[in-house]
């Protein structure tokens, strides 16, 4: 697992208080919302704030969110693409 992907999974677990879940139990391609992790709109806001605080990347609107929140892999790619060097 890439270092960034591991940090993304750790941030998800910590921010959403998914106690009992470990990073390797979250599948890279599983959807974050609905099926998969089953997150809701309140979780989405928590993640948006977490991503900004931990990685310095802003998710500006719902369109960007739709793209970033498809899966852990998509979110990792989004952060890698937008993080300041």
């Amino acid at each position: 697992m890439s270092d960034l992907k591991l940090r993304v999974k750790e941030m998800i677990i910590e921010r959403l208080k998914l106690e009992g879940l470990t990073p390797d139990q979250i599948e890279d391609q599983a959807p974050l919302f609905g099926e998969g992790l089953g997150l809701d709109s309140i979780d989405a806001l928590e993640l948006v704030l977490g991503i900004e605080q931990v990685f310095g990347v802003k998710i500006e609107d719902e369109a960007a969110g739709m793209r970033a929140f498809k899966s852990v892999q998509a979110l990792t790619d989004f952060i890698a693409e937008h993080a300041k060097a």
Binding site: S41, E46, E62
Partner: protein, 134 residues
């Protein structure tokens, strides 16, 4: 600021009396004077007249309604979630409550607010609230 024109709430559940400071989208400080004749003060399980904790959270959420630049009249703002609410001291009749609300971030119509209620420097309640406009 005309409070009645901005919030849809009405007595006895209009829980903001006055706006002290307001930066739309960022920060609001409002005031609520707790008076002895308010119906929710009755029958508090802890004994004695005091504001129930959930209504302190409602006061803070209503103050948060003034973060919106336009009037909320005709729309509704809902308290969607409460995180880490802590109650430090009771609010009692005669207290002039200072309700401080700061927007921490927003996404898809939901907003997260950092809130604190104090009275003459006394900490009464701190909470993180999630509100949604529909």
């Amino acid at each position: 600021m005309d409070i009645l024109a901005h919030l849809p709430h009405r007595a006895p559940l209009l829980l903001v009396d006055r706006l002290l400071e307001r930066e739309p989208g960022l920060r609001v400080v409002a005031e609520k004077l707790v008076t002895a004749d308010e119906p929710y003060l009755l029958d508090h399980p802890a004994g004695g007249a005091q504001v129930p904790g959930p209504l302190l959270l409602e006061m803070l959420a209503q103050a948060g309604g003034f973060l919106e630049a336009e009037t909320l009249h005709g729309a509704s703002i809902f308290l969607a979630g409460v995180r880490d609410a802590r109650f430090h001291a009771p609010a009692v009749p005669g207290d002039r409550l200072r309700l401080e609300v700061a927007a921490e971030g927003a996404f898809a119509g939901l907003m997260r607010l950092q809130c604190a209620a104090t009275c003459e420097g006394r900490d009464l309640c701190t909470a993180t609230l999630l509100v949604k406009r529909l």
